[in-house]
């Protein structure tokens, strides 16, 4: 247990490194990780929804043990937010994946529409930074639905997720329906939509990535504000923000660049 063995767990840098040595060491390790430079994330929310989901997947990999190719000691980092949000299907995707990536929603503010217009939410994810040689094997769009006190227990909504094909300045965007299902007003938890085909399309054609739209309808076909149905948006808690996750398989061997 290396976390208890101070002799082993003590600093692995046993002497003060010169600036050049530190830079060289970091550059070497970054090259192993396949990174051109050290990332500088502008957001530091490890307890946001996407990092926590990814942590669930990481823990699932960590507890598989040596027979699956992962060495101990691995100290699983358990979340404090309740049961894991990764599903059994996610674990199945994980078994085939070399890399998993979650994407933050780039749409800063949810739009509010007049009652006469069609209510919808927009989401955009930047898939342009995916390393070369990685193919999408599965992708999900996840949005959290809270329990809604104000609605009737047996009330239902139809939730639909669309891929935006083309935007117009004078009318609604052209949409392609990806998934549609009925949800209960009393339902609570993560809603998961398969966007594998769409993600593959965006990776191959980054210029066609115009994002997703989500729309809600009542049983009478009336457009409903997603906020009314309990769907968490930008103004909601960080650990319930919508995000996208994609599973990748390497299609080519990664070669380190010549030094």
């Amino acid at each position: 247990n290396f976390t208890l063995d101070n002799e082993v767990h003590s600093s692995f840098i046993h002497r003060r490194l010169k600036s050049q040595e530190r830079r060289e060491m970091q550059r070497e390790i970054l090259s192993i990780l396949g990174l051109p430079h050290r990332p500088r994330p502008h957001l530091h929310g490890k307890h946001n929804a996407a990092p926590m989901f990814m942590l669930d997947l990481y823990n699932a990999m960590s507890t598989e043990g040596e027979e699956d190719g992962y060495s101990y000691p691995y100290k699983p980092v358990f979340t404090t937010q309740g049961p894991p949000i990764a599903t059994l299907q996610d674990n199945n995707f994980l078994n085939d994946a070399d890399m998993v990536m979650s994407f933050v929603n780039l749409v800063e503010h949810d739009k509010e529409f007049l009652p006469v217009r069609r209510h919808h939410r927009e989401f955009r994810f930047d898939l342009s930074r995916i390393p070369e040689g990685e193919a999408v094997t599965a992708a999900e769009f996840r949005i959290y639905k809270d329990f809604v006190h104000e609605r009737f227990d047996n009330e239902t909504f139809r939730i639909s997720v669309y891929q935006v094909l083309e935007e117009h300045s004078d009318r609604e965007s052209d949409l392609f329906l990806l998934d549609s299902r009925v949800i209960w007003a009393a339902e609570e938890g993560w809603l998961v939509f398969d966007v594998t085909v769409t993600s593959n399309h965006w990776v191959i054609n980054p210029g066609r990535n115009l994002g997703l739209q989500l729309a809600l309808e009542s049983t009478t076909g009336e457009s409903v504000n997603p906020r009314v149905a309990g769907l968490i948006g930008r103004s909601g808690p960080q650990n319930k923000q919508p995000f996208m996750v994609a599973f990748f398989k390497a299609t080519e061997v990664h070669l380190r660049s010549i030094r």
Binding site: F2, V8, H9, S11, F12, I13, M25, Q26, I29, I32, L33, G34, R38, P39, R40, P41, H42, L43, H44, G45, K46, A50, P51, M54, L55, L57, Y58, M61, S62, E66, G69, Y70, S71, Y72, P73, Y74, K75, V77, D98, M99, V100, M101, S102, F103, V104, D126, R129
Partner: protein, 142 residues
């Protein structure tokens, strides 16, 4: 090398005596090598700390990992736990005879494990990636 022929029988007789002495010397060396188990090729502990590199702001997990390393002698006789290749065994014997010409085999990893790293990129997207051949599982003589 094979003996020259019958004309050199007398010479061979003295060469035979030298060979016996040589064989005795080899046997003594072998006995000393087999007794020196502490320095034999094996796995040693090495912990690589991302925290020590100051990377906690972008690497979510792990804080570090046990990489191990291989060190030790690959000397005659190569015991079974040394995971020696047949070539390494032969090279050990040749080194015994010609130590100045042929080096001992190298103690190096024979099996390696992958690790997974969870980290942020510049856009604060989160990446979980498997990196192969990062952890020594077994060492051997090659």
């Amino acid at each position: 090398s094979a003996p020259a022929g019958t004309k050199q029988r007398n010479a061979n007789r003295s060469k035979g005596a030298n060979k016996s002495q040589e064989a005795l010397r080899v046997a003594n060396v072998a006995e000393n090598s087999s007794a020196d188990q502490k320095q034999a090729c094996k796995k040693h502990e090495l912990y690589v700390s991302f925290r020590d590199l100051g990377w906690q702001d972008w690497i979510i997990a792990p804080e570090g990992y046990a990489a191990y390393y291989c060190e030790g002698e690959c000397a005659f006789p190569l015991n079974s736990y040394m995971n020696a290749t047949n070539h390494a065994i032969v090279q050990t014997l040749v080194h015994l005879i010609n130590p100045d010409t042929i080096p001992k085999p190298c103690c190096a990893p024979t099996q390696l494990h992958a690790i997974s790293v969870l980290y942020f990129d510049d856009s604060s997207n989160v990446i979980l990636k498997k990196y192969r051949n990062m952890v020594v599982r077994a060492c051997g003589c090659h």
